[in-house]
Symmetry: C2
Subunit: 405 residues, 2 copies
């Protein structure tokens, strides 16, 4: 049998397994436990109201009179409706419940959405970016070979210190653009105006925007949209992916959603083509998110649940502030970490990303994420994640400070 | 933007949404509630030991000292190890824990596995078959157009009354064969010898077998393998997909697994290529199954959990017997329903599948699944599912009997 040769184009390991490999090798060599500010993995407990709802769901499933099996592939209608209400209430955005598709998490949707695109589609990503946008399209055959730095045929929109890590729309014509704000990894947050330029471009060029909104609950300052649909015209050209991972701590519980509005009008077949295709995709490749997780998600959207999520996010934002202020105190130039769980730290003394990664591991026993792992424009930076117990974050920051002074 | 035009080749709606549509239209027209023997959707409650384990997991996640976020994309090692032990204990099959990949269910894996195949691979399915095998490969671009009956370029292995619904291996060379025993929809169960012929073929032709084992817990008679790895040579040529849906009632909880042995040697790159590709696929497109569901799966594999699952399966097997005996008593020719939850009933009086579906809906108010929805060789049959409360199954069978006598 012949295999999908596109897998062979994937450059090296996926970023996080590679970090795990290096860390493990260091552990085995030194016998030390590292302090972790690497993977964006939540550390604080699930909250009472949300857990209670999941336990109640288990009771419902334990009674043959109320047990249910397969749910709708698109998700429980009650949850789709609650999300729809939530968008109206919190963002002033009016959508239909059927525009929402519940999934087992943002990563799956971010990777699977490319199945809707023709193999010859031209794809643009902000650079650096969450590796899944690129890797899933490599597997889907929409790139040439990896040239040691970038994939041929891919369009990279550079996020740099000069543009405040918010790139401009492409100067050429592309079919799909992946965007994520607050950004993973740079922590940059786009204004309404900046996002508006992408929406204008997408409508003009009949291009689809895939907007990853996984971190919008971290926005605490005015003037930054928390849904791309706050931008006029976005419902004609954008899908939005989000999840309960980073606000309700569902990284392991698994629950997310994607908005694919029926009004989308950028596909070559016209309106509602993409909506119908995603619906068909989910009905064929997926059997719905866990009903236990969905019960938790529903609770996370009510008043008590929202308050619980807010405290969780506050906690991580507090960590981010400690990281940023700590690194800055020893002269590290930092971006992000405000309205975002990620601090984007510039490597000192002209070090490269992996070099600084190794330095921090060796000298401070701290794991961070090399910026270069998110794309070529990430070179010269590391991502420092605020996900950790406060005491460990403080210890890691103090250790980094000692190692640099 | 240009869309994946393969979606346009998909014939009609996915089977079950189409059944739902017709049933809903009938309900709205008549005001009656139908009796359901259609979708293979479990109806009996989750069991105490398994629910208890999931609640305990929620307690663990509610404590910041024991909370965990992302698990391994491949699944919790404890669960992979428990499955490995289970295969040895119950099937006499020796595999490695790392050969097991935990997922959110068999449907996802059955649909996603085709991402590993080259676009020009020749695919064979037993006909009739679970629609996902075919539809996922249509979306993946491995077929021509639908000619009103079959997809051009696909190889259909006909399961007929004459061959006892166990086809022979293809007479031509194919790259991948999808098999499922106990079979959905025909209820046929393959012997070691019959499966052995497929394994021999696969090794000779360097062809991959995708074996769907979702119903093996329904096998209660000797002589039928419950894992394809009971056949010598299978670990060189077969992946096996299974789930907790039909034995533990996890259709809504969502949990499954796929075995991709490192010893697989049919891919053009040689041994362990497919193992590495699936690992990469899962790391890139998936973020692990729900930790709550995985805790339940672990409990389902211990002694108490296995006993609970056995009673659940006993219950549905009892239903299957009632269905088969009831239909036979009014002269319907039936297959399956023994060692399988599905009865494959021949439509009387030369009726077609959808015709008999409509007949039973109108005259008996019973929903079944038209055999033709599973492929052309399913024409002239309906699948009657044993998933239902006993009293409803009895009522539906009595109603069918009245409508036919």
């Amino acid at each position: 049998m012949k295999v999908n040769s596109n897998f062979g184009k994937l450059a090296g390991g996926y970023l996080f397994p590679e970090i795990a490999r290096r860390t493990k090798a260091w552990q085995e060599r030194t016998g030390f436990e590292p302090l972790r500010l690497g993977i964006g993995n939540t550390t604080e407990a699930l909250t009472p109201h949300i857990v209670d709802a999941m336990k109640k769901k288990l009771d419902i499933l334990s009674d043959r009179a109320t047990y249910t099996g397969y749910g709708d592939e698109q998700g429980d209608f009650a949850l789709r409706k609650a999300l729809c209400d939530f968008y109206l209430r919190e963002y002033g955005v009016s959508l239909a419940p059927t525009d929402f598709f519940i999934s087992d998490g943002a990563k799956s949707d971010a990777a699977n959405i490319q199945e809707l695109f023709s193999p010859d589609s031209v794809i643009a990503v902000a650079d650096p970016a969450y590796p899944v946008y690129v890797d899933s399209n490599v597997v889907g055959g929409r790139t040439g070979l990896f040239n040691g730095n970038t994939y041929d045929g891919f369009v990279y929109l550079e996020s740099t210190e000069e543009n405040g890590f918010i790139p401009e729309p492409p100067s050429c014509q592309v079919d799909v653009i992946y965007l994520c704000f607050p950004n993973n990894p740079t922590g940059a947050v786009a204004t309404k105006e900046q996002l508006g330029r992408f929406v204008d471009y997408a409508i003009r060029e009949k291009c689809l925007i895939v907007f990853d909104a996984a971190y919008v609950d971290y926005i605490r300052h005015e003037g930054y949209p928390r849904s791309i649909y706050e931008i006029e015209g976005a419902r004609d050209c954008a899908v939005e992916i989000n999840s309960f991972s980073k606000n309700a701590g569902f990284t392991g519980v698994r629950l997310g959603w994607t908005v694919v509005p029926e009004t989308l009008a950028v596909a070559d077949g016209g309106q509602s083509v993409l909506h119908g295709m995603w619906n068909r995709r989910q009905c064929t490749f997926f059997n719905g998110a866990s009903n236990v997780a969905q019960a938790g998600g529903l609770a996370a959207l009510d008043e008590i649940g929202r308050a619980e999520c807010r405290s969780l996010v506050d906690y991580y934002l507090g960590n981010a502030r400690i990281i940023r202020e700590g690194l800055e105190s020893v002269g590290i130039v930092c971006y992000g970490g405000v309205d975002s769980p990620y601090v984007w730290a510039k490597c000192p003394d002209g070090m490269g990303s992996w070099e600084f990664f190794d330095y921090l591991l060796e000298k401070a026993h701290v794991v961070v994420t090399p910026g270069a792992g998110f794309g070529p424009a990430g070179e010269g930076f590391v991502r420092v994640s605020s996900y950790g117990h406060r005491e460990n974050v403080v210890a890691a920051v103090e250790s980094i400070k000692r190692s640099l002074s």
